[in-house]
Structure formats: structure tokens, C-alpha cells
């Protein structure tokens, strides 16, 4: 019993420590956003590179996943709904599932697997090799040069890829199974637009903004906790991914309640 209480206490302290540190990290992020240097070429270059690594290199794999889910969802679901005479509800079901939930969630998971892990490893190594100290010694604010471009690129790429996911899954899914569906493309798009509400858009944008921020900021914050030993890098990676998956669940819950 004593051991259990000690373990719970340790967990609680560690969690409080994380939330406290992460809160100040977030404050520093917003402060850094007003730094004029974020518009200077060196920072722009980091931002563009991160966009390329996060949003462009993933496209082939991402498109395949979007088409596969589109086939199952748009094709399969629409087919069943038409069979049961519920074609009028196709739009609202697709909007609710694809736009509100699946597009941000699938994109977040794919970006977590591909980019967040890479960012954790990169920043951990930089911390361990004292390269962040080098940046500070050159009077460069690491928030402005290293963290803000990565976090902003996370938000930009998550929004762009989620929109691409919606297009590919709906259009791809319909086109591949069009011979089997008894509804026209005009009808499908029309019902989707009819089902669109402000709440859907709001939920989509809140999930994108929060998800994009967590996607990069949690791995960066966790990487900054890395010590000087190489063995601490995989531990940071593990911790960062765990925290990020909790964050994804929170984002999903927020989206559900909007």
C-alpha cells in the first residue's frame, strides 16, 4: 500500500512538473511569435525545410492511406447507406466521420509516426551535443530559430494534409467505386455541402490548431529534458510519443464535444 501511494505520488509530481514546464514553454512560444527575427531568411529556411520534410515527403504514403480509407468509408459506407435507402444521410455521415474526426486523427497519427519521432531525436541530439548552446552563444534565440518554425510547420502541414485527406478519400473513394454506387458525384458533393455546419468547421479548425501545436511542441519539450547520455535519447523518444498520444486523445475528446 505504501509503495502504491509512493508510486502515485511520484507520478503526480512528475505530471505537475511536466504541466508546469510545458505551460512556460507555451508562453515562450507565444512570446517568440512576436520576435521580428521570425521573418528573417535563416528562420524562413528552417520553416520551409520543415514543411518539405513534414508535408511534402509524406505525400505518396499519405495518398495511399487516404485512398484506402476513402475506399472503405466513402465507397463502403455510401454503398450500404444507399442499399438501406438512407442516401439523404450520406452527406451528414461523411462530414461527421471524415471531416470532423477521421481526417485530423489519421493525419495526426501519420505525422506523429513520421515527423514527431524525427523531431524528438533531432532536438535530443542537438541538446546532447551542446548545439543548442552554440545557437545561444551566437545570440540566437533557440525558440525563434529552432522551435517556432517546427511548431508552425506542424500546424500548417496538419491543416494542409487534413484537407488533402478529405479530398482524396472522398473523390478517390467515389471514383474507384463509382461503377458500384447508385448515386451521382453531384449528389454526393451536394449532400456533403448541405451537411456542413459552422460547428463542423469550428471543430475541424480547433483540432487542427491544437493537434498541430501538440504534434511538434510536445516532442520538442520532451527532447529538451534529455540529459547528456546517448541512452537517454530512446527514453525521450518513448516519453514524447506517450505524451503525444495522450494529447491526441484529448484533442479527439475536445472535437467530440464541439
Amino acid at each position: 500500500m505504501k509503495r502504491l501511494i509512493t508510486a502515485l505520488g511520484q507520478k503526480a509530481i512528475a505530471s505537475m512538473h511536466f504541466f508546469y514546464g510545458y505551460f512556460w514553454f507555451t508562453i515562450s512560444f507565444f512570446k517568440g511569435c512576436f520576435n521580428p527575427h521570425i521573418f528573417y531568411p535563416s528562420v524562413q529556411l528552417v520553416f520551409l525545410r520543415q514543411i518539405y520534410f513534414t508535408g511534402v515527403q509524406i505525400l505518396p504514403m499519405f495518398s495511399v492511406v487516404a485512398v484506402a480509407i476513402g475506399l472503405a468509408l466513402v465507397g463502403g459506407l455510401t454503398q450500404y447507406m444507399v442499399q438501406f435507402g438512407a442516401q439523404d444521410a450520406v452527406g451528414s455521415v461523411l462530414v461527421s466521420i471524415t471531416i470532423k474526426h477521421l481526417a485530423p486523427l489519421v493525419t495526426m497519427i501519420l505525422l506523429t509516426l513520421r515527423t514527431s519521432t524525427a523531431v524528438t531525436a533531432e532536438i535530443s541530439l542537438m541538446k546532447m551535443n551542446r548545439e543548442i548552446e552554440t545557437i545561444k552563444s551566437l545570440s540566437i534565440n533557440p525558440f525563434v530559430y529552432l522551435y517556432i518554425p517546427r511548431i508552425v510547420s506542424g500546424i500548417v502541414c496538419l491543416s494542409a494534409l487534413s484537407v488533402i485527406f478529405i479530398y482524396i478519400s472522398i473523390i478517390g473513394g467515389y471514383l474507384i467505386l463509382s461503377f458500384n454506387l447508385n448515386i451521382s458525384f453531384d449528389f454526393l458533393i451536394g449532400t456533403i455541402f448541405d451537411a456542413f455546419t459552422v460547428d463542423t468547421l469550428l471543430a475541424f479548425f480547433i483540432k487542427i490548431a491544437l493537434g498541430g501545436y501538440f504534434l511538434m511542441s510536445i516532442p520538442i519539450y520532451t527532447a529538451l529534458e534529455t540529459g547528456n547520455a546517448v541512452t537517454e535519447i530512446p527514453i525521450s523518444l518513448l516519453k514524447g510519443m506517450q505524451r503525444l498520444f495522450y494529447a491526441i486523445i484529448i484533442v479527439e475528446l475536445i472535437g467530440t464535444f464541439i
Binding site: H37, F39, Y40, P41, S42, V43, L45, E122, L125, M126, N129, R130, E131, E133, T134, I135, K136, S137, L138, S139, I140, Y145
Partner: protein, 175 residues
């Protein structure tokens, strides 16, 4: 010209000085050339050199490249400008760090334990480098055991670290 030599006796003192200089860096431009601050591994040589220039000044990458071109030629680094730090020898790494500091346009250039940055075979090259470079305000901080390496340096006078920080950097001791 204000060029100084500062010697330390023990490592602890040196680390304390490094911490003081890191606090100074936050307030004024002091360029630190030291093995404690390695060049950034995921950037190429040229990107490392251009980093302070393109961060502190709104200057395009190509315009910045034109500015550093002459130095790249002088230090025979044009061929290796796209190399990463793991492809450079110790002396080349030191030159990259020096050029970072030069284009930071720091008031003072501080070579912190230069002997730690390169192996003995580059000793003469380092002295030649110091003789050829037009360093108006520079400081070499090294271990007392390396005093003999700087005996022939006419342009440098020995100074106490605290005096330099207080009088030249015009900063009260930041201990």
C-alpha cells in the same frame, strides 16, 4: 588594438568563466570560438557560417553568400562548403566557428581554450591564422600550461579575466 591573453589554472575556474561569458552573450555581442560550442551537425559548412548573418540581418542567402565568398576562398573552403561537420578536420571546424563569430559581427572575439579545438599538428597553422587575421579586439583564454605556446605573440598582452570583464566588456562581474 586590444588583444589579450588570459590564463586559467583549473578547469572549474574555466567553466565558471564560460558561464559568465554565456551571460554576457545575452546582453552584448561577444563571439565565442570554443570546442564547448560545436558547429551544428545538421547544417552544412556554408549554412553554419551564414547562420548568424542571416539571423541577425535581413539579408538573402545569396547576398550573404557573396559577402562570405572572399573568406571562403582565403581559407580554401569553397570546395568543402557543402560538407557536414563530421567531414571536416579539427582546424577546419575551428575556422567555421571563427567565421560564424566574424559574421555575427561581435565586438570581441574570444578563443576559449583553442588548444582543445585542434590537435598539435595544427599549432603552427593556428599561429599563422592569428598573424594573418586582422583581429581588433580578441581574447585567447587558455590553460596556464599552454603559456609557452603564446610567448611569441607580440600583439597580445596578458590580462586578468575579471579586469577584462569589468573594464573592457563594461559588465560588472556576473558571478
Amino acid at each position: 588594438m586590444s588583444n589579450y591573453l588570459i590564463y586559467y589554472k583549473d578547469e572549474e575556474k574555466m567553466k565558471g568563466w564560460l558561464d559568465i561569458l554565456m551571460k554576457v552573450v545575452k546582453k552584448q555581442r561577444v563571439g565565442l570560438v570554443s570546442s564547448f560550442f560545436p558547429i551544428i551537425g545538421n547544417l552544412s559548412v556554408i549554412e553554419n557560417i551564414l547562420l548568424p548573418l542571416t539571423y541577425h540581418h535581413k539579408i538573402t542567402y545569396h547576398a550573404a553568400l557573396d559577402i562570405v565568398q572572399k573568406d571562403m576562398e582565403k581559407f580554401e573552403m569553397l570546395d568543402i562548403m557543402h560538407y557536414r561537420s563530421n567531414q571536416l578536420n579539427d582546424f577546419q571546424k575551428m575556422i567555421v566557428k571563427y567565421l560564424q563569430v566574424k559574421y555575427l559581427r561581435a565586438e570581441w572575439t574570444v578563443f576559449f581554450s583553442p588548444r582543445r579545438m585542434y590537435i598539435a599538428e595544427y599549432e603552427e597553422k593556428f599561429h599563422q591564422f592569428l598573424r594573418c587575421e586582422d583581429l581588433k579586439k580578441s581574447v585567447i583564454i587558455d590553460h596556464e600550461n599552454h603559456r609557452h605556446l603564446f610567448n611569441d605573440m607580440q600583439d597580445y598582452t596578458e590580462k586578468d579575466f575579471d579586469t577584462w570583464v569589468t573594464l573592457d566588456l563594461k559588465t560588472s562581474n556576473l558571478k
